[in-house]
Structure formats: structure tokens, C-alpha cells
Symmetry: C2
Subunit: 612 residues, 2 copies
């Protein structure tokens, strides 16, 4: 049921996520895309007169943003979020608990020294997570400068207890939970071991609209590196899922958990994959009592991106033709020309939307065809598209057969991205490959998980040194072990095997991997710095998380576009409220012992009797 028009009881929140400021900033064509869209998002928020902006992580693409990107974001936040409009909602929870990780554990708009008229609340993502001395992230800089309110930072690695931000506007009461990105495996384990608790207000807890913002892998999967929706507590009303770049912003109903999930998706394509080619949106979330409506707003400044599959064997082209090479190229050229026409026709007309689109042709050349020069092909469109260097991706059908082939194929895998990678997680594929294969590809020194995670880092986060660092680290560890054991040459294989098995699946293995990834990150960022000072923009395409998972598509959806299926009557609400028994399935506990955090709320329970 759609809420009535804007009134004093309606909280309006702009939802946006994965803005990836600084993505490809060194690219002369695409370098400014992320900042342009961030500005559009803030403009929309301003125009829609929202109470606040809620960001789902990865505001920055790089853990250490360049000065240019940092400066650009500071300038935009100052420009759009400061001014003379009064804040229309009240903050009821204890700020010193909600922001206890910050040096200034206060809301920026309640600080007399800052005149904030549109607060931004944000969790961190996996790209801009806290690292290094002081365990700070870029959002800490913005928070301390009074430009955002950074919440959801967890300090313990063992146990998470989320104290919601409690907000009230008229009689609408919002409990806002946030959890900044945690390594999926670790968070998964914490959930399994019931070490994740979401605290709830002691009194009148069923009056609250419960919103949770999270930045993790979402798509259903066999491994433990994602967070299944059923892990989340069923008292939640809406989950705002960050990290996944595909726009699935229309709320999807989870019938098991009785909550909706909205996945706004990124505001910039950081990979040339199917999911990223969908139109980009932000959401205008309107909450009134226990009802909500989410209106999706298309972004007009995002660079257009078209992806098309070409299967050469399905065309009339003959691989045995004497000038087949030229014909294939002409055929593909025509495809690109058509996409260019489409882009021109579909341009939003917004002056800030770039003219040159991103285009990707995935060409299946199986059936006797030969790949042509991607570079030469791209040169034809150098003035018309934004990514001439990687316009074409060659691939072959039946990538599953690779698993039975020899080890060289893995290299091939890295070069030609098969379609199935869109729906499978690379780290699992790698792990499976090394685990199942009977050939000589079986790992002896390295661990499968190590390799899988390293390749994932390589693919997802452009961690160019991830694989080499993992190899170096695990080989080094093994050598050290062998020296300590002073092992005889004959038993050296046994010793290696023993050492490997001792660590596998243990905490030790994960620590190793993390250590190696840290080293890789250090190397990468040092390389980045160098690049920044170089003039040639070497463009590397990041294959970011993209949730075009076929598995998750199979799940039931409540694409009601805001028409809420439950919770609109008080009886239903109280029924839900009493379903405490579900706590067994979801390892989230209610904790009533921490009362300090809600003392403020208890003292002023106004609006409790006004519930709609």
C-alpha cells in the first residue's frame, strides 16, 4: 500500500551505493565519470528534498583515493550537504555508541560548528574499508571533517553487535542498522556461530521500521563467501544490499524471512559484464510508519554501456571462406555501428552524460573461426567509444570442458572470460579445478583456497600482485617449515603434504591468505602511485562484483514496486513481532542487557501512541 503524499510523518531517504569515486581516474576519457554521477546523485537528493542520504559502501574505488578524488568528493559534499535547511527528524539513540569508533562520536548536523542541511550516512565497502595505522578508512576523514556520518564500523573480529541508529520523524520511527564490509567468509562464520547480534529498542520494538544496510556478496552459492538472506534477522523490514553492481533496486520479497531486499546497484560500471549493462538507478525510499515505498530514479549522467553476444557459427559466415577474416571483422564492425546508433538514440539528453559509450562485443569464435586483432579493431572506434582497447572479448563455447583439459587451459581461462563466469564465482571455480582434477594440476604446496582467493582478488579488486604474493607467501612458509623439521630428502613430499593439510581450512590458512593479500595490496598501491605520476594511462578493466547470478534469479521475487504485502495492519505486525522462535534459524539474538544505548529513547518515547 503506497503511503500518502509527503507529510510530517514521512521519512524520505535517498539510497545509493557503490559510487566508486576515482574509478579509472587516470583514463583521459572516463576519468571523471564517477564524480559526475556522484554529483547527480546529490543533486537528485537535493531536488527530492530528502531527509538524508544513505550510502551502501564503496563510495571510493581505491582504498587510498588520490588527492584529486578525495578533494573532488570533499568539494561535492560541502557544496550539496551544507546550508540552511533545518533537519526534520530526531535522533533518539546514543550517538556515542552509534559512532563509538569515531574520534568525534557525534552527528555532523548536530554539531553547532557545522551547518549541515542534508546529512549523509554511510557504511564502508570492501574497496574503502579501514586499513593501516589506526585502522582508518576514507570515510573516517570525511566523518572527522564533518562531511558524512560514518557508521557500521565493527572493531571486533570475533563478535558483532549492531546498535541501530534510532530516528524519528513525526510518528515514523526508523531503526537503521548498518554493517560495513567484512570478509565474507569471516562474516559467514560469525553468523553460523551466532556471533552476530542486532540489538533492538527495549520498548515498543514493533513500532519501528527496521532497515539494514549491508555490503557483502549476496548471490546464492555453495561456498561460504556470501551472506545468505536467511542469515539476517526476520524482524527486519527492508534490507539495502550494497556491493552487488547490478541494479535490482525494485524491492524483492523474501517470503522465508518476511522482508524485502533492495539492491540499487552501482552508479558506475566497473566491469564490462551483463549485470553492469543494466540501467543504473538510485532509490527514493519513503517510510511512513511501518509502510514504505521505493521509487527508482534513473541516473542520467552514467556513461552508456552496451554489451552484445556474437556467435560466429550462428551466422552465415563461412570459416573456410578465403577472406573470412575480413568478413568477420566487417560483421562485427556493423554490430558496433548499430550499437553506436542505439546509444545515440538512447542518450538521456543530460548535458553531463558522456557521448562516447562503453561497448563490449563477446564473440564466440568456436567452429573454426580465428580471432582478429582486438587492438586494430578498436582503433576504428577510437573517437566514438570510451573503451576501444577492450571492445571485443573472444571466447569459445563449452568452457566446462576445460576442467578435463590440461593445465595450460587455466591460463586461457584468465585471458578469455567464458560466459559462465558471469554466474559463477571465480574463486570457487579455481578451487574446484584444483581439487577435482586428477591430472598434474593438483596443488602440492599451495592450498586451493589460497589460490582461489588470490585469483578472486586479482579479478574482483584488480589486485595485480595477489597471485604472485600468495605463491611467494605459501612457498616461503613451507620452506621455513621444512627447515625447522630438518626433513630428509626422501620424506620431503610427505612433510610438504602434512604441513599443507595441517593448515587447510584452519584459521592459520585464512591468516596466511590475508597476509599475502595485504602484501599484494601494498605492492599494488605502490604501483598505482607510480602510475599516477606517469603520463600513459594504462587502462585496466576491473571485473567487480556483479550479481547477474542465475541462481538468485530463480528465487521468488515480490516485484511489487513498493506495494507492501504485509505489515500494514497492526495485527499482522504484532504477529510478526511475536515470532521469536525463529531465532533458532537465524543466529541473531536480541540483547536486552545493553540499556545505555537506548536510555535516550526510553526517556522520550513520543509518537509511540501515534502509530498508523
Amino acid at each position: 500500500m503506497a503511503p500518502p503524499p509527503d507529510d510530517e510523518n514521512m521519512l524520505k531517504i535517498l539510497l545509493a551505493t557503490d559510487i566508486h569515486l576515482g574509478y579509472m581516474e587516470k583514463d583521459p576519457i572516463r576519468g571523471n565519470d564517477s564524480l559526475v554521477s556522484f554529483e547527480e546523485i546529490l543533486e537528485i537528493a537535493k531536488k527530492k528534498d530528502v531527509d538524508f542520504v544513505l550510502l551502501g559502501g564503496d563510495l571510493y574505488h581505491d582504498n587510498k583515493p588520490s588527492r584529486k578524488t578525495l578533494h573532488g568528493s570533499i568539494a561535492l559534499l560541502r557544496r550539496y550537504c551544507m546550508g540552511d535547511r533545518p533537519i526534520q527528524f530526531e535522533f533518539l539513540s546514543d550517538q556515542s555508541i552509534n559512532f563509538d569508533h569515531c574520534q568525534f562520536p557525534t552527528l555532523n548536523y548536530e554539531d553547532q560548528n557545522f551547518n549541515v542541511n542534508m546529512p549523509v550516512f554511510s557504511i564502508h565497502g570492501n574497496h574503502d574499508d579501514p586499513t593501516g595505522q589506526g585502522n582508518l578508512c576514507s570515510l573516517d576523514l570525511l566523518h572527522s571533517a564533518g562531511l558524512v556520518n560514518y557508521f557500521g564500523k565493527t572493531t571486533s573480529l570475533e563478535k558483532i553487535q549492531l546498535s541501530p541508529l534510532l530516528l524519528q520523524k513525526g510518528n515514523t520511527k526508523l531503526a537503521l542498522y548498518g554493517l560495513g564490509s567484512v570478509r565474507d567468509e569471516r562474516l559467514h562464520r560469525m553468523f553460523v556461530h551466532k556471533n552476530c547480534a542486532m540489538l533492538r529498542p527495549k520498548e515498543n520494538k514493533d513500532d519501528w521500521f527496521n532497515l539494514f544496510v549491508i555490503h557483502q556478496n549476496r548471490s546464492k552459492h555453495t561456498a561460504t563467501n556470501y551472506i545468505p538472506e536467511q542469515f539476517l534477522d526476520d524482524f527486519l523490514d527492508l534490507v539495502f544490499w550494497g556491493h552487488e553492481h547490478e541494479c535490482r533496486i525494485d524491492p524483492e520479497w523474501n517470503g522465508n524471512q518476511n522482508f524485502y531486499v533492495t539492491q540499487p546497484g552501482s552508479s558506475i560500471a566497473t566491469s564490462l559484464s551483463e549485470g553492469e549493462s543494466k540501467e543504473k538507478h538510485v532509490g527514493l525510499l519513503m517510510i511512513r510508519g511501518k509502510d514504505f515505498k521505493l521509487t527508482k530514479i534513473p541516473l542520467e549522467t552514467v556513461r552508456q554501456f552496451y554489451i552484445e553476444d556474437v556467435v560466429l557459427s550462428d551466422t552465415t559466415l563461412d570459416p573456410n571462406d578465403h577472406d573470412v577474416g575480413q568478413k568477420v571483422e566487417s560483421y562485427c564492425q556493423q554490430k558496433v555501428e548499430n550499437l553506436l546508433l542505439k546509444a545515440e538514440a538512447e542518450h538521456t539528453g543530460n548535458a553531463k552524460q558522456p557521448d562516447k559509450p562503453l561497448i563490449r562485443l563477446r564473440i564466440d569464435y568456436s567452429g573454426g573461426f580465428e580471432p582478429f586483432s582486438v587492438y586494430r579493431f578498436g582503433q576504428k572506434f577510437v573517437d566514438k567509444i570510451a573503451n576501444p582497447k577492450d571492445i571485443v572479448l573472444f571466447q569459445r563455447k563449452k568452457v566446462h570442458s576445460i576442467k578435463k583439459d590440461d593445465g595450460d587451459e587455466l591460463e586461457l581461462l584468465a585471458k578469455i572470460k567464458p560466459q559462465s563466469l558471469d554466474s559463477a564465482r571465480v574463486e570457487d571455480m579455481v578451487r574446484d579445478y584444483f581439487t577435482k582434477v586428477e591430472s598434474g594440476s593438483k596443488l602440492q604446496v599451495l592450498t586451493e583456497k589460497g589460490m582461489g582467493d588470490a585469483i578472486k582478488e586479482y579479478v574482483d579488486k584488480e589486485e595485480r600482485e595477489a597471485i604472485s604474493e600468495l605463491v611467494k607467501y605459501q612457498v616461503g612458509k613451507t620452506q621455513k617449515y621444512l627447515k625447522q623439521r630438518n626433513a630428509d630428502e626422501e620424506v620431503i613430499d610427505v612433510e610438504i603434504c602434512r604441513f599443507r593439510d595441517e593448515r587447510k581450512g584452519k584459521k592459520q590458512e585464512e591468516e596466511e591468505i590475508q597476509e599475502a593479500m595485504k602484501l599484494a595490496q601494498a605492492k599494488r598501491s605502490s604501483q598505482d602511485d607510480k602510475d599516477e605520476n606517469d603520463n600513459d594511462a594504462s587502462v585496466i578493466d576491473s571485473e567487480d562484483s556483479d550479481s547477474s547470478s542465475t541462481a538468485s534469479r530463480g528465487r521468488g521475487r515480490g516485484r511489487g514496486r513498493g506495494s507492501r504485502a504485509r505489515g500494514s495492519t497492526s495485527s499482522q505486525t504484532s504477529t510478526r513481532g511475536s515470532r521469536g522462535g525463529r531465532g533458532k534459524k537465524t543466529p541473531v539474538v536480541e540483547n536486552n542487557t545493553i540499556t545505555n544505548s537506548f536510555s535516550k529513547f526510553k526517556r522520550s518515547p513520543r509518537g509511540a501512541s501515534n502509530k498508523s
Copy 2:
């Protein structure tokens, strides 16, 4: 003549410079020193109730400060500079001109969205100068975040025109000129070619107190890589000289130029040299009409630093003694123990002053003595001093003889810093060495200036890659030239020589050097990033600019400590004002054509009739 006590006509300004935030931040002992002293400086400013804080550059030690340092400084500025006290002075000049290089060309305390009660004005130094995309520096981040007012950034490389910030409190009128660090050679040339202009208010220009803050080499020298005081315009009343780390804060009278110079010095020792061992101060500058008084305030939290020279041949120690090694070590140990006792006695008592002092023994071991292990010696004091690793510096007398020795000595030079280096500029020494020597050390491909500058970068700014990058760059250039000329093997030496002579002393040579230094900087900062992520704190001692120049000591001083020798009567003032003929000597011109910048001032010439 000391001004009367605090009143509505007195501008109070805190002067501090070269705070070098982040210096040695990875050192477990010294890592926090710079932030501690910055906080003390802000505390003093607060306690003294100053109108504003004026910083002379190098607020940050690193061009790209770590997140920890950036966050620490943001937090301190927010804590100390924001609040409810009204600003007591007026700003009369056009902000959009004074801050035209900024995205927000406004004063932070005049922006309604920031509640600033103690403005900070700063120029940049050579450590935190603008670089990279957008030509931004760390002060741009602070400026856009509303935390400082960054001025004195020059955009043209050919011509500098300084528009002063015009401030007024009661009838005191201050024209504040600032010039962020520019490469000394370039600025020197600009002065020589009369391309540096200091604009002055059109009307009543003699009513203004003219203060100039500059961040350049100061000490007198034969080369062109410093700025002689006589280059500066003689209408100035006081020059605030940054960059030089030795505290010479008591105003020194320059009788030729008729102005005072104050050199507050750094608030942290970034080298273990004589000049840095002097007590550190900041200055409380009080201006009333055309009079000023500068009170120096010792910093209580700065880590103590003692330096002592030991000449072994002047002691009773006998180099032929069978256990002379042990005796020398015991002797030196006793010296250190004495310094430790001294440090204990002289501790300021401020709880934030660290207990472990810096100690440096410069041991002259000439006369047949042998150096002992610095590492082993340092280990004895590992719990008592902050720098056990470099407590001792061995050196020999008569370093001047090096020039006549063979090339190997240059290496030695880099390892053992001779005393004379305290007063000579390393780049000139190197240049002299290569120019004058008749041996095979004469350069054939590289230029002497190139080598000199590269070694200077290496020594002054820890630019570890400076020398190798310079070599690479100049060799590469030469090879390219030879290829183009397609030179025969026989004439190759001639061609090399010709190419070298063509560039020497020209703009081209300087550009080459700058390019190479940029590359070195890129490599260094990439290395730094790596270090940041490593755990071992490899401590490198930066030998920063330190002005214990014997040459400059010889100049006349007017250590009148604020008792001003001139300008207190209007007749004298007008005399000075009419000395336009001096313009020949000082290539600074008065420019009356730019009137926009002073239109505001002209419209409100209040106070003009009140001059004292």
C-alpha cells in the same frame, strides 16, 4: 617601542612553521611527535587568544600524507579552530582573488556553514607542495573542508604577482603577503628577471603593516638556489621565513632592506644537526598600527635533542693503547650518560614531552683511532634514547681535502657527514667537485648541476631514487640524441660533449632535472606506500634544511626583540614610501593596473585617518 597591552587595535597572530606532520610516523617511539607538537601549537594559540594562526609551510612532511596523519590533523583543526568566539578583524581584500586557486575562494570563517573561531592561514612548503592531477596539495583538502585558509599558491611558472590579504582590526591594517614554496632556482631567476611583483593597496599604502611569509632557502650563498633578502621589496615591515629549521625567531634587522626577518624554525627536528638542536619556539606576533612585537614561546612538548662533538685526539685517550677501542667506547658512553642526565634535568615537565631524548655524538676519530660499531653502541641506550640506531656519527677533520682525493671519497662523503656540510650546500659541493677536479671524475654525459641537484634531493628530501633517476634520464636523453644524429663511433665523444654543452645552464637542463626528480618522487612515494604496509619500521633520518649558516651569521642583526628602529613616525614612513628608486635593485614592481582586487578596500577606507 613595545605596543601597549592588548586592545581593540592590536592584531595578535601566532606564527609557526615546518610542523612536518607525519615525520617518522612509522617509528614506534617518535611516530607521534609531530602531531603532539601541532596540538601544543594550537593550544598556545587558543590560550593566547590570537586573531589567527599563520603557518609558514611544510605543515605535512610527506607530499601524500598517510591517512593517519591526515586524519590526525583534520581532527586537531576541528577541535581547536571551530567554536563560538567571534572573529575580531575585518577582511578587506577580494577573497576571490586571494584564493582564486581554490574551488571555494572564500575564507572559512566567513562561510555561514562553518563556525570557525580561530582561523588558520597557511602557505605550502616544499614538502607539501601541489603535485599530480589537478595540481593539488594537502592544504587544498583542508581548505575545501573549511579547516584552513590556503593562500600563496602560484599558478604561473613565469611570473608571480602577489595580491596581499588585507586585514583590519581597529585602526591596525595588515597587508599579508604569502608565497608558497617554489623551486629556489626558478624563483631566484624570476626575481632577477623582475617577474615577481607584490601588489600594494592603491590608497594610503603607507598605513599598512606589510608582512610577507615565504618558504625558501634563506642562507646566503654563491649559487642561485636561495632567495637573498635583498630581493624582497623594502616596503615590507616583517618577513616570516619558513623552511629553515633552526629557530632564529627573534627578529633580525636587515639594514639594507629596512625590514625585520623572523625565522621561527621547525617544531620538530627532522635532522640531527646543530641547528635543529636549538630550543624550538613559536611566535606571538602583536601588531598595532605600524609597530609590532614578537614574543617567542618555547614549545614544551618537543622531544629533547642534544648534540655534542667529541674530538678523540683532544682527549687523553691513546690510539696505541692495547684496549683503546674499549676505552673510546666507555668515554663516549660517559658522554651520552651525561647528556641523558642533562635531558632529565631540563625536561620541561610537560606530560606530553617524551622522556627519551634524541642524542647525537659527532666523533672525530682522526689521529689513528678506529670507529666502533654504532649498532652495538646504540643498543646500550635502546631504552633510554629515541634514536639508538644513529646516535653516533663518525667523521674526520679536514674534509676539504676530499676535493683533491680520488672519486671514492664522494661515497665516503655520503656516509660520513662532515662538519662543513652544516654550513655548505651539498649541491654546490658536489658541483664544485665535478667541475674542478682534474682526475677522471669529470662528468662526460651527466651535467654537474644535474648531479648536484639530484644529490641535494637525496639529502634534503630523502628522495632515495633521485640520483639513479637523474642518471637514467640524462643517459637516456643522450642516447636518443646520438641515435638521431646517427653519430659515427669516432666522433661519439664529441657529439656527447656537444649535446651536454648545448643544454648546460639552459632551461632545458632544468626541465630535465625536474622531470627526473618527478620520476624519483613517484618511485619514492610508491616505496613509501609499501613501507607503510610493512611492519618493520625502517627509520631513515631526513636531513632537512637547516640554516646554521656561518655566512648568514656574519650579517648585521637588529636583535631588538620587537623594539622597532623605524617606521614609528609618519615622516619616516613617507620617506620610505617615496623611495621608489630602489626598484632597480629589487625587481619588485608596484602594479596599479589591477584595481579589482582592491576595489573593496577602496570603498571602505576606514581607519585611514586613525593611523598612529
